[in-house]
């Protein structure tokens, strides 16, 4: 037996638990949900395998909820990029000590449970919460309607997802040799032009990587909109939960879950038109 074969077998053995794990927790569930979505039909729809999907698309409610999902995830992604990019840049150009502090500030929240942080935001934003109480003490007209608004959802998601934007951007910026921008400046480019034509394109793959992670996390978020939002702003994950636990309509819930998956795949497809995803994740993986 050539040694190469042996080695490959050894690796197969080592990888087997991971493969089995993925089969059990991702492939099998997806298959089961797919079959439920076409087999567990509402009354009077026997044989129409697309009945659940038709119900989903025909209803104004679920269409609005799908739209909410895409809109919310897009806004949160853009906000994370706008805040995260300058932050990652600052962490890169600062002295090593300041840079470390800046990164620690990003990582610290990771160590606090996200549910606890979301409830903390609830306490801060509610009508009788910290912010409105302060406004009251200052004699400002209150309460400001902060909680149970789209704003509260964006804020909650952004505070949770910002690290997922900053870290990939930081890593990509780390690789950029500052001499490129210096060369551009030396050749007469204005600082803005040097940034726009040289630095930005070189760091864009980090932004795309971060955006994909943030967008996917946002579309699947449940706890944050459930605690901070109102029913009118609900997103697909909440709709799915309501179908599962209140309506016991697991066929419709499964169809909605697959639709959510489709939204994620479609956005990856769109992203791949702008950037080679291989490069994006290659860039992250190299570190």
């Amino acid at each position: 037996m050539p040694p190469g074969v042996l080695r490959r077998h050894t690796w197969a053995l080592v990888t087997a638990p991971t493969v089995l794990f993925m089969l059990a927790v991702f492939v099998a569930p997806t298959a089961i949900i797919s079959s439920r979505s076409i087999l567990e039909l509402p009354e009077g729809a026997s044989g129409d395998v697309l009945a659940n999907f038709n119900r989903l698309l025909a209803s104004d409610v679920s269409r609005k909820i799908m739209w909410n999902t895409i809109q919310t995830a897009t806004i949160v992604t853009v906000v994370c990029a706008l805040i995260g990019y300058p932050y990652a840049y600052l962490a890169n150009v600062s002295s090593p000590r300041v840079g470390r502090v800046l990164l620690a500030l990003v990582l610290l929240p990771f160590w606090a449970n996200s549910l606890v942080r979301t409830f903390a935001l609830d306490v801060a934003l509610r009508d009788t919460g910290v912010i409105n109480s302060l406004l009251g003490m200052l004699g400002v007209e209150h309460p400001l309607g902060l909680i149970r608004t789209p704003f509260a959802i964006y804020l909650g998601m952004t505070q949770f997802m910002l690290p997922f934007m900053i870290l990939p951007v930081f890593v990509v910026m780390r690789k950029i040799d500052i001499e490129y921008t210096q060369a551009a400046l030396g050749l007469g480019a204005s600082p803005w032009t040097a940034f726009r034509r040289v630095y930005l394109p070189m760091s864009a793959s980090g932004v795309v990587a971060g955006s994909i992670i943030v967008f996917v996390l946002a579309t699947g978020s449940y706890v944050i909109p459930q605690i901070l939002g109102a029913p009118r702003d609900q997103i697909l994950s909440q709709f799915i939960a309501n179908q599962v636990t209140q309506r016991l309509d697991w066929g419709l819930a499964s169809a909605a879950a697959l639709t959510l998956l489709a939204i994620v795949f479609l956005s990856l497809l769109v992203a791949s038109r702008f950037v080679r995803l291989r490069d994006v994740y290659g860039a992250v993986a190299e570190r």
Binding site: P42, Q226, I227, T245
Partner: protein, 381 residues
């Protein structure tokens, strides 16, 4: 086949636990796709005309012993499960030698999961009025009325798959700090933003009373609430929509009211009593409240089905059913049950009159899809 089903169980469990993270703990979550709430108790169902002597009198005082058998009960946790435990589970264990295992996530979705995966672990559940209808038959054992005395509760509270165990009133809970001492007298006051400024709490799941109280506030008499006039109900709800929090669970409603985030809430008398006992500045308006029972149900294929039926029979006996009122402000479902004299005024039974509202489970069940579509459209607008 069975392995495939168990994989499916694992999967749905995962999905479920992810999904319910924010909604669990509600004393009345759900309903089936075709579900509906509460007892079709007509106004005349005011528990009075019922209960004869139990046909199996001995089970009330000396239920059969099942030494060492482990029986599983699932309730809603919190106030109600504590009361059920002290009133019924512990005494029954002492009498019969069974050991109880308790779960706090009673939920039709869990029943569906257990039954479909062929791995039923629950024997008996305390569940809300919106579950256990004829259409839920695939998930439940029929109540064995050769053991359980059907006449222990009013006729509308005993169905093929469920029988009432205790009663709750869903009325106006108010935060006395927020109302500055004023007492909301009716659902019309609940909807009066001028008289009672501040947030109010209704439920995001309409079978739990949201539409009923809107119609009552608009002047519909208790016996005319059903069939639900959707235009009228939603029109009334529109007047307070901007000031209303649509809670996804009873515990959320309880927290919002107790903390003063909301001035008024549609909430159960027992939850308000629990808040008050904790020192929160809250009170409960009994007038015009919706009186509804909780129900016993037994999942299809429950491992100790026979004991579950004996337990239900025992707990619904006149001499045992009132014990629940000792530990929380729930009333017995058995109208002739003995309740603690000092509690009489704190129980729903003392406040049933011509203004009392009742759910119509059958109507809700028969019209679920249309109403649900209309309400969801309104809620997400």
């Amino acid at each position: 086949m069975s392995s495939r089903r168990s994989v499916s169980a694992i999967v749905m469990l995962t999905l479920l636990s992810a999904c319910t993270a924010g909604t669990s703990g509600s004393p009345s979550t759900t309903g089936s796709a075709s579900t509906a709430p509460a007892s079709a108790a007509p106004a005349s169902a005011a528990p009075s005309a019922v209960a004869s002597a139990s046909p199996v009198a001995s089970i009330c005082t000396a239920p059969p012993r099942h030494e060492g058998v482990t029986v599983t009960f699932a309730g809603f946790g919190g106030t109600s499960q504590g009361a059920i435990d002290k009133a019924w589970l512990q005494p029954y264990a002492a009498l019969t030698g069974v050991t109880w295992v308790q779960s706090e996530d009673s939920d039709p979705a869990q029943v569906k999961l257990q039954v479909e995966s062929g791995n039923v672990t629950w024997d008996v559940l305390d569940n809300g009025n919106e579950f256990g209808l004829e259409s839920d038959g695939a998930l439940l054992e029929p109540i064995d009325y050769s053991v359980v005395d059907r006449s222990s509760v009013p006729p509308d509270w005993a169905g093929t798959y469920r029988i009432a165990n205790l009663t709750v009133a869903f009325g106006i809970g108010y935060n006395t700090d927020k109302t500055a001492g004023a007492v909301p007298a009716s659902w019309a006051d609940f909807f009066d933003l001028g008289k009672f400024p501040g947030k109010r709490v209704l439920r995001d799941y309409w079978p739990l009373g949201t539409l009923d109280v809107a119609l009552a506030a608009d002047g519909v008499s208790p016996e005319s609430i059903y069939p639900l006039d959707m235009d009228r109900a939603l029109g009334k709800l529109d007047t307070i929509k901007a000031s209303t929090v649509f809670a996804s669970s009873s515990s959320q409603a309880q927290e919002l009211l107790g903390s003063g985030e909301a001035a008024l809430a549609l909430i159960s008398n027992a939850r308000v009593a629990a808040l008050k006992a904790d020192g929160a500045p809250v009170d409960f308006q009994w007038n015009h409240s919706i009186v509804a029972p909780d129900y016993w149900v037994v999942p299809k294929g429950a491992p100790n089905k026979a004991i579950a039926m004996e337990f239900i029979a025992w707990a619904n006996c006149a001499e045992n059913n009132g014990a629940v009122s000792k530990y929380a402000n729930y009333g017995p479902a058995n109208p002739v049950a003995t309740t603690p004299p000092d509690k009489t005024e704190d129980l729903p039974s003392a406040h049933i009159d011509q203004n009392t509202l009742y759910f119509d489970d059958q109507y809700v069940h028969d019209n679920f899809n249309e109403i649900d579509a209309e309400f969801s459209a309104w809620l997400t607008k």
